[in-house]
């Protein structure tokens, strides 16, 4: 089942219109495995394989398969990679149905979906990662526990070295390296999955156990790597046959790389618990520089014009950034942008007929008092000019309601004018209260329509204004 996507890739490639493919000049299966090989080989290291890494590697292999058609190499490489990404089905998972025969009477059909390669967005741009299924393919379909495979291969390698079967030992060492890389890649994927979603892996039982086993395994392997290296090195020092020396050198290289993989794996294992704990906890502007005065034409423009584009950009962009002042980076928000794009266009407002507002005939204050009332109130308040008079005395006369109200309000305004109330200050009340002084008498008005402390009203004579003395 795991190899079917590659068969499908080969079938689909026949429709790609590439002459070399139609003529069978490219081993597409070998290229597919090589692509997985490159991807798995980079997993677990600081930088995974980019699209270009894989396409370049495939193009080089294509060149060896069909040296006369360089224009076809990138096309074949694209075809293979797109096939592994299931591009024909929009990058969806490969899905197969298989018959589960665990029940002796019936067959139960179950879907099985998997990817071989997938693209991830990273700090290096898009990179490729291999699924467990791809890693299994990479290991030549060995459906084995990677740790067991690594240990078994180490044992075989030891025997071959002891028996001085160096050719076989070189092959085994290569296989051992691949197994270690596979183990490292699997662990890298598990830790990445944990960073994304802590619940995606079983950190209660399964993973701690796997980590413990893996740590023990790696510690053993690092010790054995050293022992093997010493053993082969010893053989290199004593062996005189050039062929054996060459193979031994190969084995030393392979073992050195395998040891590096094991050391890298150990580093990951040591930090694995921290990754889990951190993931568990989680799942819940440029310094001003003074531009010195420049002769822009002579010091900037002329030298920049002589530079290649890339180097010129390094000068012009920072210069433009500063010269143009502060620019706020604008970020999109999906819904808001769609709403703005789809907002109904602003229609011009229809011209409305001028409103026929009913304006008062004159500037009569609707809150004001008729002139006769004001005149009557002034007459009442004129009594104050003759001497101190209580408000209650003024109101005791049988006054019309409006006149009594205006007298009372004027007295109150004289007692406590509102400095912020310019409207009242210019009104009838303000006019009548001008020059009046009101102080409480201590008595209380209880009769008539007004209630409250009585006020003693006086109109003090204005003090003579002293003559201004001449300035000295």
């Amino acid at each position: 089942m795991l190899t079917d996507p590659i068969s499908r890739l080969v079938r689909n490639a026949a429709h790609a219109g590439i002459a070399g493919v139609d003529e069978g000049r490219y081993d597409l299966r070998r290229l597919a495995l090589a692509a997985i090989d490159v991807v798995v080989g980079q997993m677990g290291f600081a930088r995974e394989a980019t699209l270009d890494d894989v396409l370049d590697a495939l193009a080089r292999l294509c060149a060896r398969m069909h040296p006369d058609a360089p224009h076809e190499w990138p096309l074949v490489a694209q075809t293979v990679l797109k096939g592994l990404l299931n591009d024909a089905n929009d990058g969806r998972r490969f899905t197969y149905r298989f018959a589960d025969l665990s029940d002796p009477e019936t067959a139960r059909w179950e879907p099985y979906s998997f990817r071989l390669l997938s693209l991830r967005d990273t700090e290096f741009g898009p990179v490729l990662v291999a699924s467990d299924q791809a890693i299994t393919l990479f290991l030549h379909g060995l459906d084995v526990d990677l740790e067991d495979a690594d240990r078994a291969l180490a044992h075989v390698l030891q025997r071959q070295l002891e028996d001085r079967r160096f050719d076989a030992a070189a092959r085994t060492a290569a296989q051992a390296e691949r197994t270690s890389v596979g183990l490292s890649a699997t662990l890298a994927e598990l830790l990445d999955a944990t960073r994304r979603d802590v619940t995606s892996t079983d950190w209660v039982a399964d993973l701690p156990e796997r980590l413990t086993r893996a740590r023990k395994h790696v510690e053993e392997r690092i010790a054995e790597d050293d022992r093997f290296l010493e053993h082969v090195q010893h053989g290199l020092d004593t062996e005189v046959s050039p062929e054996v020396r060459a193979v031994s050198g190969q084995i030393v290289d392979l073992l050195t790389r395998a040891k590096q993989v094991h050391l890298d794996l150990e580093k990951r294992l040591v930090g694995a618990r921290e990754v889990f704990l951190a993931a568990q906890v989680r799942q819940r502007i440029a310094r001003r520089r003074r531009l010195r005065m420049l002769n822009l034409g002579q010091d900037v423009l002329a030298p920049v014009l002589e530079l290649p584009v890339e180097q010129a950009l390094a000068v012009t962009e920072p210069f433009a950034d500063r010269a143009l002042g502060v620019t706020v980076p604008r970020l999109p928000r999906f819904d808001d942008l769609i709403e703005a794009l789809w907002a109904a266009p602003r229609a011009p407002e229809p011209e409305a007929p001028p409103e026929e507002a009913e304006l008062p005939e004159d500037a009569e204050d609707p809150q004001g008092y008729p002139p006769e009332v004001v005149e009557a109130a002034r007459d009442v308040l004129a009594r104050v000019d003759d001497g101190e008079t209580a408000l209650s005395d003024l109101l005791a006369a049988d006054l019309p309601d409006e006149v009594a109200e205006l007298v009372a309000l004027s007295a109150l305004w004289a007692f406590a004018p509102d400095p912020g109330d310019d409207d009242t200050a210019g009104s009838d009340v303000g006019f009548l209260a001008a020059g009046l002084v009101a102080v409480p008498t201590g008595e209380v008005i209880t009769d008539g329509p007004f209630r409250g402390p009585d006020l003693l009203l006086t109109r003090p004579m204005p003090e003579p204004v002293p003559l201004q003395e001449d300035a000295e």
Binding site: A46, R47, L51, D52, L55, P74, Q78, L81, K82, L85, D87, N89, D90, G91, R92, T95, R115, S118, L119, R120, D121, T122, E123, F124, G125, P126, R195, R196, D197, A278, A279, V281, R282, R284, I285, V328, P329, R330, L331, P332, R333, F334, D335, D336, L337, I338, A340, L341, W342, A343, A344, P345
Partner: protein, 237 residues
């Protein structure tokens, strides 16, 4: 939120992380300051709170921290929010098509809710998006959709897929050019990348775009197009 005093060095570091997030050129490569701050955001709850609080004050929201870097989204009307004036000058029809293509790309790439949690980047091709949109505007039930969405769909159906300029390039006024322009805009926003090694019209939709669409409350039009995408995918398999 309870009042908790924040260390000033943390505040500075939080501001620096937001600065990195606002810059589309910086990448959190191993060993860089950006990477260290990104790891702190992921691992230290207290630092995350400082960053989130500072972002909120600036009118920003942290949508996620995928490997490619912190993804920020603006509060509507905030100083960082994209305005129509930030896009190229467009007439009413062009705005309708721009919006529809944007919705179409989102529906094409993420037909199922589960897709929003899948870190795998999507490869899209201009021609594939065009084919999908042409099918979608014909099949989608937009009766419940926004009036402007229906207008956009009708307009899209009327437009030719391809009109060539005298130099053989796609001319304005055809849908392929509109899709090309939206994808180019997404590239400028860090929401897509050109994948020229896989073909001239091929683009990767980044985690940034995935998080932007996932953050969306969704429109009736988006839902309708996603339904068509699911149907076409089911028919194909």
């Amino acid at each position: 939120m309870t009042a908790v005093a924040a260390d000033l060095t943390d505040v500075r570091a939080a501001a620096e992380l937001l600065q990195f997030g606002l810059s589309r050129r910086v990448r959190p490569v191993e060993g860089s300051e950006y990477r260290k701050l990104l790891d702190r955001y992921r691992d230290e709850l207290r630092f995350k709170d400082v960053v989130d609080t500072m972002a909120e004050g600036l009118g920003l929201e942290v949508l996620g921290t995928p490997r490619a870097g912190i993804v920020l989204a603006p509060e509507p009307g905030g100083p960082f929010a994209t305005r129509l004036g930030d896009l190229r000058a467009m007439d009413q029809h062009e705005k309708l098509i721009f919006g529809l293509v944007l919705v179409g790309i989102a529906a094409y790439a993420y037909p199922n809710d589960v897709d929003f949690d899948d870190p795998e980047t999507r490869l899209v091709e201009v021609t594939a998006i065009e084919e999908f949109l042409r099918t979608a505007v014909a099949k989608a039930d937009l009766s419940e959709a926004e009036e402007r969405a229906r207008a956009a769909a009708e307009l899209y159906a009327d437009l030719p897929a391809l009109v060539l300029t005298s130099t053989g390039r796609r001319a304005r006024g055809c849908t392929l050019r509109a899709i090309e322009e939206v994808l180019a805009w997404l590239v400028s926003q860090g929401a897509a990348r050109e994948a020229t090694s896989l073909g001239p019209d091929t683009f990767h939709l980044t985690d940034h775009f995935r998080l932007l669409v996932a953050d969306s409350a969704g429109t009736t039009a988006l839902d309708a197009l996603r339904a068509v995408r699911r149907e076409t995918a089911a028919e194909a398999s």
